[in-house]
Amino acid sequence: MTADRFLLRITRIAPLAEGVLAITLAAPDGAPLPAAAPGAHVEIEIPGVGLRPYSLTGDDPRRYEIAVALAAPGRGGSRRIHDGWRVGDEVRVSAPRDGFGPARANGPALLIAGGIGITPMLTIRRALIAAGRPVTLHHAARGAGGGLFPEALRAAPGAPVWHYDTACGPRPDLAALACSAPAGTEVWCCGPARMIDAALAAFAARPDVVLHVERFTAPAAPETPPADAGAFTVALARSGHRFTVAPHEPLLERLRAEGVLPETSCEGGVCGTCLTRVLGGAIAHHDYYLSAAEQAAGDRMLVCVSRGQPGTTLVLDL
């Protein structure tokens, strides 16, 4: 196991939340693995996709634990893992890398995480608490409440945790956090690009604060989406609102983000609860509810699974 990359066996795959899998990797012979510093990640070879970084969330020296969120839109790595990985398979993994940087100061610590960006924070927070540094965590996620790692993210004396449920509440106010951080604060931030950019802007005026950032992904490489999973535009007839749905982004999720809450039950394209009138545009039907003739009529769709044809504009009676 001296090479920079080695084969590890998948020993456990378990859903952690909707669209997020907890995956455990171990040496086939159970041998201890190269030690990982807090915040470290490994790169995993995904054939046909390339190397993908995943933060290590555990601290057992005999295994690596990662959490993989199904990215929408992603570049195929998370989709490949969610659909193709099975317990017992072997994957090629790099030695741990300290992409997020070790502590450089000794003052209070501020951790800011968005969504699956919580993963590197687990080991960083553990190390900071062990070092006796005061550490505050701000975690923004859909349906938060520590959903992903409730035990690891429990507040402790000197280590408060702020959860923000982005489905129905405000996001962390980064400008306010930047203003109120005591001098000498060390900040770690990991999350979607929008959050990283906001943190860089907010803390730009604080030379007395050390800021570490980690983006989920390198700037996106072009990807060819499958036939009709491409981007399309939606126009909401009642509000006049227009927006573009990204390739692979579920329409239902986007509608909710836009403040439209269709009534749903199965969210799998079978029960018909979310049947919506379509006033114009070309539909890519993916449901089991409408008959072929009804689908061909093109005047109704199930917004939980169906989409617009790529590059077209769909006018919904919403």
């Binding site: 859903p15 909707e18 749903t264 039950s265 799998g268 029960c271 089991y288 509810y289």
Partner: protein, 359 residues
């Protein structure tokens, strides 16, 4: 156990003729278990499969299936007997003595005048038969669409097996029976204290995918410690505790299911092969395998508990209408995501296979 219709049986809320025909035709091109292999010895046996009367018989040791109707004047061949003629075994109709060979050809007509040949059209259709997992399986179509699903633990000597053949057939369709066994969100409600807790009705997070002819569902669940979830013969087992189990459910489409439950104690497997007598009557062949608590005298404990859980399910599954799982477009059912995802995916597949076609 008999698979004749119970005398008090009524098919209330009967499906349309179209739905019944769709179910029978859709289920035809699959292997279906019909009998325990050990129960087919020296006498023919009558079974009903998808509404058709069949006779099962061993001729020179080979399990064979024909329509249970003599080609001559349509008496039941299962009332007949196995006879030896010219060194080979034949199935003889006991009405007029016509006898049929293993390939279905008529081999003897006692009334045939001298100098006449047996008519070429006097033979029987022979259905495909297989013996696997201790059962006899029949396929009514020329070509089965999928093979009989594997059951690795069945032949594995590290596993202790108990078999359960329910005393009464279930008054439900085979597809509803498979769905009832695949469903986990009913555990806290129907099997409280055994497989769940009503204080925790939240469904687990499922992974669902297709692999060859199997629908696979995987999830983790915390369940009460007991005979169905862990090794209670160990001194440290605590009946008050909860046990973390990983379920991997393999549905051999459309009529077989194998639930593999992994825990710290080991592996416990629930295997069910359903025999669709018809759209509203199903015979269940169960096998339970475990690789812990291996003493033979413990078998009755496992069998009793399994039978108890089955009887908890029975009134609810038998109460479901329509008998045949309806297609989604009818909007008769209201599945709720994401907890019902495994059932939704199973239903999608049986709809694709042409088994759920109408109400």
């Amino acid at each position: 156990m008999t698979n004749a219709l119970p005398s008090d049986f009524r098919s209330e809320d009967g499906p349309s003729a179209e739905a019944i025909a769709g179910f029978r035709a859709g289920m035809e091109p699959f292997w279906h278990p019909v009998l325990e292999a050990a129960s087919l010895a020296d006498r023919p046996r009558a079974v009903t499969l998808l509404g058709r009367r069949l006779v099962l018989v061993r001729l020179d040791g080979v399990a064979t299936a024909f329509p249970d109707t003599c080609r001559h004047f349509q008496a039941q061949l299962s009332l007949g007997s196995v006879v030896r003629v010219d060194g080979r075994e034949l199935l003889q109709c006991n009405y007029h003595g016509w006898a049929f060979a293993g390939d279905g050809a008529c081999a003897r007509i006692p009334q045939l005048p001298a100098g006449r040949c047996i008519p070429k059209t006097a033979g029987l259709r022979r259905f495909a038969v297989a013996e696997r997992h201790g059962l006899i399986w029949v396929c009514l179509a020329e070509e089965p669409r999928f093979p009989i699903p594997d059951f690795p633990e069945e032949a594995d000597p590290r596993f202790r097996k108990v078999r359960l053949l329910e005393e009464h057939p279930m008054r439900t369709s085979a597809t509803r029976m498979i769905m009832g066994t695949l469903d986990d969100t009913h555990f806290p409600w129907v099997h409280e204290g055994i497989l769940g807790d009503r204080a925790h009705p939240e469904p687990p997070l499922h992974r669902v995918w297709r692999e060859g002819a199997e629908l696979i569902v995987q999830y983790e669940a915390d369940q009460p410690a007991g005979i169905m979830t862990t090794d209670m013969s160990r001194p440290e087992s605590d009946a008050g505790a909860t046990v973390r189990l990983t379920y991997t459910d393999h549905v051999g489409m459309p009529n077989v299911i194998r639930l593999v439950k992994e825990s710290a104690a080991g592996r416990y497997v629930v295997w069910l092969a359903t025999s669709p007598v018809d759209y509203n009557l199903t015979i269940n062949f169960w096998i339970f395998a475990r690789d812990y608590d291996l003493a033979a005298e413990r078998d009755p404990v496992y069998l009793q508990m399994a039978a108890h859980v089955r009887e908890q399910d029975r009134p609810l599954i038998e109460s479901q209408r329509p008998w045949i799982v309806p297609p989604f477009w009818t909007q008769i059912e209201l599945p709720l995501g994401p907890g019902d995802l495994p059932l939704i995916e199973y239903q999608k597949w049986i709809e694709e296979l042409g088994i759920a076609t109408a109400v």
